[in-house]
Symmetry: D3
Subunit: 314 residues, 6 copies
């Protein structure tokens, strides 16, 4: 039985060295990243048997994506096709004033991933299913596939986890909310960033009532509200309980993917039997580890995450 199934798109990202820019850099470092693949990589780092399902063109670029994720310990289940592109993006690292990300994701093969491209049995056999808002908003087909996945998981008692990821939807607030409304009743565990809560649902101010409001709206068992930057604690609501965990301080080399590492760490904590508070701590420690590493996916081991956790418990 698989611990975690994630389904979505991964992009092959090309980055010039820190301090250099796209117009003049000689070399670009390549690595694969995407909300669901990053979450799977974080979970695998914490020893979960994590699978990422997707659809890719059968080219060297497509195989590159798979090899990168496998190196991070993720198992991959890919529907190979001769049609459509591998998503690429050209990303300046760090956060310089004029930093630029040029996504180049038109006509990606994944946008044609229909339910029959997904081994649904794997989803039913899994402990947890994870999908982000980036997936159902990529194409009509992916919306249907996402809905099917949540249905299948619901029928099989697979925990359904969802991350709103509004910024990745490329939609306006109302269209995004509409998508969420059509899917989230079918979700057990909802991750939402504070800024998404504000922009999409108009929930600004204190995050606890915001989380409460979302839990009520969609009937999720657990709602976790993440926060931008490293200043504020994340907040989790489960049943009547409210938990807060502040971020861990580390030397940041690249904050890309830190949010996804949090999600992967949280899911791994839950899988290992932690309560919501412990899982929030695992998530925060995994996000901190991610920030020390260049690239979208966390690199390290469960011991590394524990070492970060321990530092503050004392």
């Amino acid at each position: 039985m698989t611990d975690l199934v994630t389904v979505g798109e991964a992009t092959l990202r090309f980055s010039p060295p820190r301090g250099e820019r796209i117009p003049t850099a000689r070399e670009f470092v390549a690595h694969a990243g995407g909300p669901e693949s990053n979450v799977a990589a974080a979970a695998a780092t914490l020893d979960l048997d994590a699978v990422w399902l997707s659809k890719l063109p059968d080219t060297a670029l497509g195989r590159r994506v798979v090899g990168d994720l496998r190196r991070h310990g993720v198992r991959t289940g890919v529907a190979w096709t001769d049609r459509g592109r591998t998503s690429t993006a050209f990303v300046e690292r760090g956060a310089p004033a004029g930093a630029t990300t040029i996504p180049d994701r038109e006509n990606a093969a994944v946008t044609t991933m229909a339910p029959e491209d997904v081994p649904l049995g794997v989803v039913g056999d899994a402990d947890t299913l994870f999908v982000s808002g980036a997936t159902p908003t990529r194409s009509e087909t992916l919306f249907e596939t996402t809905a099917t996945l949540l249905d299948v998981a619901g029928d099989a008692d697979t925990t359904r986890a969802f991350d709103t990821r509004y910024a990745a939807t490329n939609l306006g607030p109302e269209d995004a909310r509409d998508v969420y409304d059509r899917l989230l009743d079918n979700v057990d565990l909802l991750f939402v960033d504070e800024s998404d809560a504000e922009t999409v649902f108009g929930l600004d101010g204190d995050v606890v009532p915001a989380a409460h409001s979302l839990r009520t709206r969609y009937g999720c068992e657990t709602v976790v509200v993440t926060r931008d930057g490293t200043d504020h604690p994340v907040v989790g609501l489960a049943g009547e309980s409210i938990y807060e965990v502040p971020p861990f301080e580390v030397e940041t080399h690249d904050s890309a993917g830190a949010h996804d590492a949090f999600v992967g760490g949280f899911l791994a904590g839950r899988h290992h039997g932690e309560d919501v508070h412990g899982a929030l701590r695992d998530g925060a420690a995994t996000a901190a580890l991610k920030r020390t590493v260049v690239g979208d996916a966390v690199v390290g081991s469960r011991r590394d995450v524990e070492a970060i956790r321990e530092r503050r418990s004392e």
Copy 2:
């Protein structure tokens, strides 16, 4: 007055180091290349005032293309747009057995370059206009633009040079021949590779009659037949005269763009007053110089080309 105007597409190419492959390489070196931009770079290396005209998205990728060409001494005239992509390609260098080029050129901005995107006055004022078969076969719009360019150049007594570049057309032989038939009556100087002559026009065997046949078919003043590899001489027909120039031997680091360097060197030789034989020698020396350099565009100076030419005259 401009010496040479070239019009077409340039692709931003990403290559892993020699001996590494797309699925596992860490770094990719970026550089711009395309038939017309490579020709312009070669001509500029030989001190021509060479301009490349194109259409690009107003992004860091588009500006990268322009910066690369400017560094090679090419002036650029770009219609900037907010629509369409910058063409990319992922290219394994050298010629290993399984080497792979993955072009990613769908929906490139250049495919929408209409005649009104081109400063036609520059074409009329130029000494020579150069276009390859890659351009008119990219889109209907580019076909019309190419035809317009040849008309404008014809009216202005600008020399019209054309390179068949069949492999870059992505067409079958018949469709390609059809495009050539609609354009080449309007051409003064035709470059055709031996393999194109064979595949598209069925002209195999000796290259001299092949060149003669093409000259008759299209009424070009001069026809130059290039040859694959570095074993056979190039052949030029002008009037009743036939010229042959064997390739120069060099230590090859990258043969990409050598054909285009030949064309640019030939055009520069003509511009500097060389006869067809001298221009063929300039072309062959420029192609040899290109092979010593990694990338699509030749790097060096007129002196470097002359040094190669001299080596054999002795």
Copy 3:
């Protein structure tokens, strides 16, 4: 059911850039390599479900080895331990006169891999088991483990493939022959390099009688004799039939691991239903592909191997 199980040691190899040497190089490129892991990587490249079983210390170095192999598409089954080292080696690439390999493999964790460290059920369920002479000669424990593996495979009708790999045994000819004599009666498919046949078994001169002699000695169904360098054909004996396949010519960047790529390609060919002749061709094409790539493991796809095969059939 697994297609191929390989069992053995992988070494983390650190190489300076070509043309630089250990005493003065600034940077060393790391990658994992070993006879059995290389064979598994080659088989995985040809779409086999290939597993590599081993024992490693639970450190970042050990995880590095696993990540590298997973990236090549190999599944890994590792007994993690807190004792013993990860094997390392410092290797100057290419074949300069004074090139140096400094193996640093003392006290490697793998030398303590007992039969109970190996999931023997996986071996019994597999189509083919592969082990090289490097494994049973590393330690007494590994000899016993190897013997057990061959027994288990024999009982389960798993094809047992073995590569003599004399140079990797660090033994004298007589000791090595002694090891072979104790194991090879239990082998179905034997790979032996021409030089091993000569040094260990005194079989010099024509390779066909040498292969015949080894088949008789050990009662193997199939014997394949590989040859040093790229000048001579490999030879396979199966039943009364003799097959020869010459090497494919490619631009060589690194010949490390080409022998293992041959073995992996041969096993994949057999798995895909090729006869011995076809499998020899698959092996030779995979070895050729390996030579175009830097590192111990082949990188590419089944299509790449087929492209090389096709080139000569014409």
Copy 4:
């Protein structure tokens, strides 16, 4: 008509990676830099048609300088010569305690650039002429050339901008003041760093009276006083008005050339019709963008500068 003409020297700078030093670094990154070329690059980034005029040896090093500047969008007008060197410098990046710059600029070709080496017509046709104190103090010939340039510009109503750049003069305060006194009556727009005002003109304390004093001394229309570091605002005096603009905060990767980027940004702002206050903001934003980028010249686009400007207006 050209928007901006700058005249001066550019140095080919070789830098080890950050954290490495000249005695032990393996690799040095090369790029061209100089007060006037940096200003031209900044102005070109902001879409001005900017030309840099100079004199260089006709070698690969000289061509390198030109290619680097062209890549930044600067047009170049170079008097090529067979005499004299290309200026080089070996520069440790960042600001470590013992950081070292070793300039190697003796006998540079540019020191022989006489008025007849400069296309004076270009200066007369330009909107603005820019020269720094580094130029007239390099040689007697360059002093005369600078004086001629200011005369020609004055006659043609070309705006004359001058940056004192005392540290680059290699002169004592009195000699430098003497040079300034002989040239600055002929200047419309004067840039002076606070430390230059103090060291050369004895104007310490508040910068506003210092600027006022310099404007009176030389009769310049506008005086801009820049400040060391990123703590204090720049100050501009024009007519009776006084403007202050604080620096923009960014992640600094390399502060080399930030002063020149300020000047280029200011000149571009003026050219685009901004008043002194707006131009100071453009300058400050361009300097901030420069700090995010490694090298002497800013890399980016007018949009990047605007994005930085916008951040604070809110």
Copy 5:
């Protein structure tokens, strides 16, 4: 006469680039480091004639260590052997949360360095001998060798300097104290880190009484207590005098080896005639310089150290 003799082990350290980790980095930068070799390098940077004595295998790795140290200006006296390993370590730079150092020092050749492997005459002729606690705790043989060295130096009036370096001993506090007790009566100048004083000797709280207590315990002429991090001053006790010198602020790129650079700077200061206060300043400035440079050994010159010292005296 040699100014400084140091005796001990150097490790060949392989580090991925900052922000990358061992499991996924492509390249590792190699450099040699060790307490005694780092001290010698720092002293040589300050113009001392410094020798490092050790025992190494006669391989390219062993020669690499020697070449690295020679490049830093250290003379080397090595007993070459065919037995034993070169110590290696795989070190993630910077201080990310989960940073890892994997030492791989078992069976190093140096552990067999007996007194007869050391040119004792060099020790007797030297001005100062330096050894750290890392050396006598590596093996029984090295303990005897260390004791012999201190005896020889004592007989010859060579100043005996010792650094406790508890963390490098791999011993528990009691075993370490036992080693120190058997050696330190024979020492003139003792360096001890505040944390060692606390852990090994139970001396916490104010460092002055701690230093006093150690001076009394071992009868050393001078005791210097260093402090973790860059927040607290170092403290020196000599006779009845107490000196404090705060650290110098610099842009830190790598703090590895800063403690050793302090020791080398202090010894050089003493050698150049500085009193304890001046030597503490030299030490602190050398440590600061080290922090600006990547690697274990300081790179620079006496001028660089003086430049740092001067900055604060003003």
Copy 6:
């Protein structure tokens, strides 16, 4: 007693990667090289105690040169000065058609090295002194210093070895011959390249009579004639004997410095007691080893050279 003293200039050379050129390369690799320092490095590789004497500016560039040579095992005796430059050169590696070397050696500090800058006692105590024609032709001062060195060595029975190195003299044939005539009567062992013999002394055709003629002209005990490329044997004349040794075949990565490696290997062979024939073989093997390594100086060990020698003796 020193085995070998060499006296001359070393240049800090900056090279782009193979296949890249000065105008467009991003990175340049630095290393020190010069006839006398290369010879010393080769001799040190073969275990000689070799010293290089020179004069350098006391800058990071000067210290870089010294550190590079020390890393190669050369001891250095440098007269540090505050005047004059470090020689630099910008060198494209390999031998592409248009490859360029831009020497930048004007006003080098070494040109002022007077006899009193040289520790003449070291020369008198040495076994052998080596100087090349590049040294006395750099300046009047260096001519006098060279003459003094040869005198001192002659008086002390130090073997005087000299390499004509005509191409490095920057003189015409007659001027060079004049310099040689004034110095070479004082030389015991003369190295002359075949092309120098031809150009300077008009000795073309067979090399044996050429060597004979030079030995007669200058009264040298031994004359060694080297040959361009790797096709022809080197020839040595000593007394009435004539020896020929063909070059060893290796994979060439960089032929820079191979001639100097030959000289160093020959001198080391003589020092180790080889006769002229054996020393020629040592020289040829050292030159072969050099070709396998990038840079001006050979890297390796006496074993590496012996391994190459052995390969052919069989």
